[in-house]
Amino acid sequence: MMEVTEMKVGQRAEITGYMETEAGYRAKLLALGLTRGAMIELIGVAPMGDPLRLKVRGFELSLRRSEAAILKLKAVEE
């Protein structure tokens, strides 16, 4: 298991679940397609190191490091 904060740019990972969090934030991520089994790719980091730029289900999404840490991930072997 790993967290978003451990990902490197260009790396892909599979979402395996959510850590305990405020329901509103989770609901939004779920609606955006960050469901279990979905793949995310870290495609960039903002100039000051935060937030992150992720690719999910064909579109780009920006999340803050600390907030996105609620995603439980599994690294994908390339």
């Binding site: 609901a27 939004k28 609606a31 955006l32 937030p51 289900r57 999340l63």
Partner: protein, 888 residues
């Protein structure tokens, strides 16, 4: 056939081209309003369906799901779930089909008739793909049509689909939820209500199933909303299989390449700053070109025009004062804000529509988080350096109410352009060469106090968690002119008719107070002094309050000017100017005259009052009206001519004329060897424009005529001698200016005649320009010398005293226009909190600064600190009380 009235809700994800579609369908048949209890805008459109039915289309804010966090989302979710809409029109972005279908499924569960409108198909096609709309419609069981309804035929297809949906009972697509949730559904369901309510309870959209959610989490190890979302996305995968077909080879994506630069680790911030600079320049400078137009127009029509007409109709004086000077001035004030507000919205719509806005928020989010704000709050802050009014309006782009309030509370700290003349005056009088540093220190103080305010409010008044940051980075596209203008226009209209109303009333109140006079209690008893206005009276009564910050009692003008500054902060300068001038003359002639408003109008663009002895006739009124209109239009080309020069100085920090620098540049070009005859001629023409030869000649002619006319009258009426002197002085000034300009022009002519480059001539020219520049500067200073001297005396030749005063000017309640805008946007409650906070903070900071540097009175160091502590305590108490409302 009976005509039916139906209501349809337009629902979709953000960035799906929803507004474009709404505008294309409803055209001009739109009305705006507000959702009850919130500041979210409500947009309605009327559509005549082919069968004769009438449909009201309600444009809802963009949402990703029915789970609402922000105010906008709650409005959209509640309306979609509620019973008001007969039909749901779901706009779906073809490029992000999967994600958009998530909302579609949630909407279909509501069981209402539905039509799906597919947008962005052109972009998808450019990427080489195509959506099989027929197959999708069949699988979903609802009509699917294209959002591109420019053509008549496709519009008819859409309208037929709407009727079809209304007529048929919708076949439901069933999402198969995991069996493990069955028990939970039953427990969350209440007898007699639709099943979908149980789903919403488990998702947490509506409360009432907290215990069930907890037990599911305990048993299955995950909350039900995750399971529900999984099931929906499984369904979506099934629905979309084979629906999106590759029809061509994908072309290289321009947006990817662009993002490589725009979001680059090193280039990201410079590009961001560059674009923000352009936005600022566009709003302040380009927009600023039209301010004088609206100002003069407003005066011509609503102030002097209306005043003249009323006088001619024999209206009583108080009616003229109330309507023309009061309400008219109010309307005029609102009008002067039309250009900056419109241009900021034009700029913002442009950035939003192109897709850059989201990227800007991404780039600066980390930095803005230091202030406790999201990245998108940067724009309002920046705009605040130009004018607070559009800055407050720009906070409308922030979706979270807490962030919005915080941003509005911090925006007035960004020192706006109107305060600059005040700094400039004091800079010239007290700081000399260090003026620049002083102005910089003021701006910096504003920013630091904004940060202080942000930290204070975060922990007291607006306590609670900041909104999490979830930002979609949409694809770039070329902004659509129609949409951008439409959006800017909508927002401008909102400003004029909502904030404008409050603004006009506030100005009316203050103007009337400025006109009503009371006996002067302050004048020495032996003299029969002229009455003073209520405003002046109030200012003098308040003077003791300002003593601790260094405005002594003898300097009551300083305190009156602060009240006049409520009209607009730059009026502090003209008020001081006039009030000090009165006192100087009063010393010699022994009487006080003139109300402050008369003075303000003398120096500023406020209405030229009708001189008491000249009674207007219809003819003069008509002539004045025509002239006013002509003058109003004349301001535009004048302003536009100076546009390019401001590119490098949008704040107007270098207040001193740059025309002579421009002249030097023209000269240098002329001196270059490779110029053709035509280019030289063009250069000369440009020089004439820079030097303003034409207007100088006109001024000369006018001044001569005026002088001669007065000279004739003086023969009969020796009392007019002083006007003659004034006219002579004006004439002399014009002649001097013209002489200098002509001299510069002669140099240019000489250069133009030479064929080769001539460095020596250019150097001589430069010397000349510098000499002229020095002369005109010192001449300007000389005319102000007496004002400067009075100012220095009044402020005890003390830089710290002056600086404390400027700190107060920076901080105390913003001008009436900004106040009205704030009230419109956040209501009287928070508005009053903001105004009181600003004024109290201004007083405390100014007093602390003055007492620490000059005053050295312990009481006045302790008191401000105690007051600030009390303010923090009050904020803390209010914050705890209203906490719940803000977080929802």
């Amino acid at each position: 056939m009976k005509q039916r009235k139906v209501t349809a809700a337009l629902v979709g994800n953000p960035n799906t081209g929803k507004s474009t579609f709404f505008n294309a369908w409803t055209g001009l048949h739109q009305v705006t309003g507000n959702w009850p209890g919130v500041t979210v805008e409500k947009l309605l459109g009327e559509i005549d369906l082919p069968g004769g039915d009438q449909m009201t289309l309600v444009d809802l804010p963009g949402i990703y799901s029915l789970h609402a966090v922000s105010e906008d989302e709650r409005v959209a979710s509640e309306y979609a779930r509620g019973g008001e809409a007969d039909l749901i029109i779901n706009i779906v972005d073809a490029v992000n089909l999967e994600r958009n279908l998530y909302l579609t499924l949630a909407l279909m569960e509501l069981g209402k008739p539905m039509v799906m409108v597919l947008s962005m198909t052109d972009i998808l096609e450019r990427q080489g793909f195509k959506v099989e709309m027929g197959a999708l419609a069949e699988r979903l069981g609802i009509p699917v049509v294209s959002a591109n309804i420019q053509r008549r035929a496709s519009r008819q297809t859409l309208e037929r689909a709407v009727q079809e949906a209304l007529a048929t009972k919708q076949r439901q697509v069933r999402v198969v939820y995991p069996e493990s949730l069955n028990q939970a559904f039953l427990k969350a369901w209440r007898e007699g209500e639709p099943e979908v309510r149980a789903v919403h309870r488990l998702e947490g959209i509506i409360p009432g199933a907290e215990a069930v959610i907890a037990s599911v989490e305990a048993v299955l190890g995950t909350t039900p909303d995750v399971l529900i979302a999984d099931a929906r996305y499984d369904k979506i995968a099934e629905l979309t299989r084979g629906i999106v077909k590759q029809v061509a080879r994908a072309r290289t994506e321009f947006g990817r390449t662009l993002d490589r630069f725009v979001l680059n680790r090193w280039l990201g911030i410079p590009i961001f700053l560059g674009i923000m600079y352009l936005l600022f320049w566009f709003t302040q400078v380009v927009g600023g070109c039209f301010i004088d137009f609206f100002d003069v127009l407003g005066d011509t029509v609503f102030v002097s025009g209306l005043g003249n007409v009323l006088t001619l109709c024999h209206a009583p004086d108080w009616v003229v004062t109330l309507l023309a000077d009061g309400l008219g001035t109010g309307v005029q004030t609102v009008m002067t804000f039309i250009p900056p507000v419109f241009f900021i919205f034009l700029g913002l719509s442009l950035l939003e529509d192109s897709g850059y806005m989201a990227r800007a928020a991404y780039v600066v989010d980390r930095f803005m988080r230091l202030l406790g704000l999201p990245g998108s709050a940067f724009v309002p802050m920046l705009v605040g350096f130009g004018c607070t009014v559009p800055a407050i309006m720009a906070t409308r782009t922030l979706s979270n109410r807490r962030d919005r309030l915080l941003t509005i509370f911090m925006a007035p700290f960004m020192s706006c352009g109107a305060r600059l003349p005040v700094y400039a005056l004091f800079g010239a009088a007290f700081f000399g060469l260090a003026s620049g540093t002083m102005v910089f220190a003021i701006y910096l103080s504003g920013i630091l106090l904004a940060v202080f305010t942000g930290v204070l409010l975060k922990h007291t008044l607006f306590v609670g968690d900041p909104a999490p940051f979830i930002l979609e980075l949409p694809l770039y596209h070329i902004p659509r002119v129609g949409t951008v203008f439409k959006q800017a226009w909508e927002r401008l209209r909102h400003f004029v008719f909502r904030a404008g109303k409050v603004m006009a009333l506030m100005v009316l109140l203050l103007s009337v107070c400025d006109k009503i006079t009371v006996p002067n209690f302050y004048a020495p008893e032996c003299e029969n002094a002229a009455p003073i206005s209520i405003v002046e009276m109030g200012g003098r009564a308040l003077a003791p309050v300002f003593t601790p910050m260094g405005v002594e009692r003898e300097n009551w003008q300083g305190s009156v000017a602060l009240i006049i500054g409520l009209f607009a902060k730059e009026q502090v300068v003209s008020a001081l100017n006039t009030l000090y001038a009165i006192e100087t003359t009063a010393g010699t002639e022994g009487q006080l005259t003139a109300s402050t408003s008369e003075l303000a109008s003398e120096t500023d663009s406020l209405p030229d009052e009708i001189a008491p002895e000249s009674v207007p006739t219809w003819a003069t009124t008509r002539a004045a009206f025509a002239e006013g209109i002509v003058n109003a239009f004349a301001t535009i080309p004048e302003a536009v001519a100076g546009l390019l020069g401001t590119m490098l100085d949008p704040l107007g920090v270098s207040i001193f004329a740059s025309e002579y620098e421009q002249a030097v540049k023209v000269m240098e070009t002329l001196a270059r060897a490779d110029r053709s005859v035509e280019q030289r001629a063009a250069g000369l023409a440009k020089l004439d424009a820079v030097l303003g030869m034409e207007s100088l000649h006109t001024a000369l002619a006018e001044a001569t005529v005026t002088r001669d006319a007065i000279a004739q009258q003086v023969v009969q009426n020796p009392e007019l001698q002083s006007s003659l002197d004034a006219a002579n002085a004006t004439l002399e000034d014009v002649v001097t200016q013209l002489r200098h300009a002509s001299e510069l022009r002669r140099f240019a002519m000489a250069l133009a005649e030479q064929t080769g480059g001539n460095e020596a001539l250019v150097a001589a020219f430069k010397d000349k320009v510098e000499a002229y520049y020095r002369d005109s500067m010192s001449a300007e200073l000389e005319s102000d010398a007496s004002l400067m001297e009075t100012l220095r005396t009044k402020f005890d030749h003390d830089k710290n005293r002056a600086f404390a005063y400027l700190l107060f000017v920076l901080l105390y309640v913003p001008c009436l226009a900004a106040m009205a805008t704030v009230v419109r946007e956040i209501g009287w409650g928070y508005g009053m909190i903001l105004f009181s906070y600003l004024t109290i903070l201004g007083w405390c900071v100014a007093t602390l600064y003055f007492q620490i540097t000059t005053g050295h009175t312990l009481t006045w160091v302790v008191t401000p600190c105690a007051i600030l502590a009390a303010v923090a305590a009050v904020f803390y108490a209010i914050g705890r009380k209203t906490k719940v409302k803000l977080v929802v």
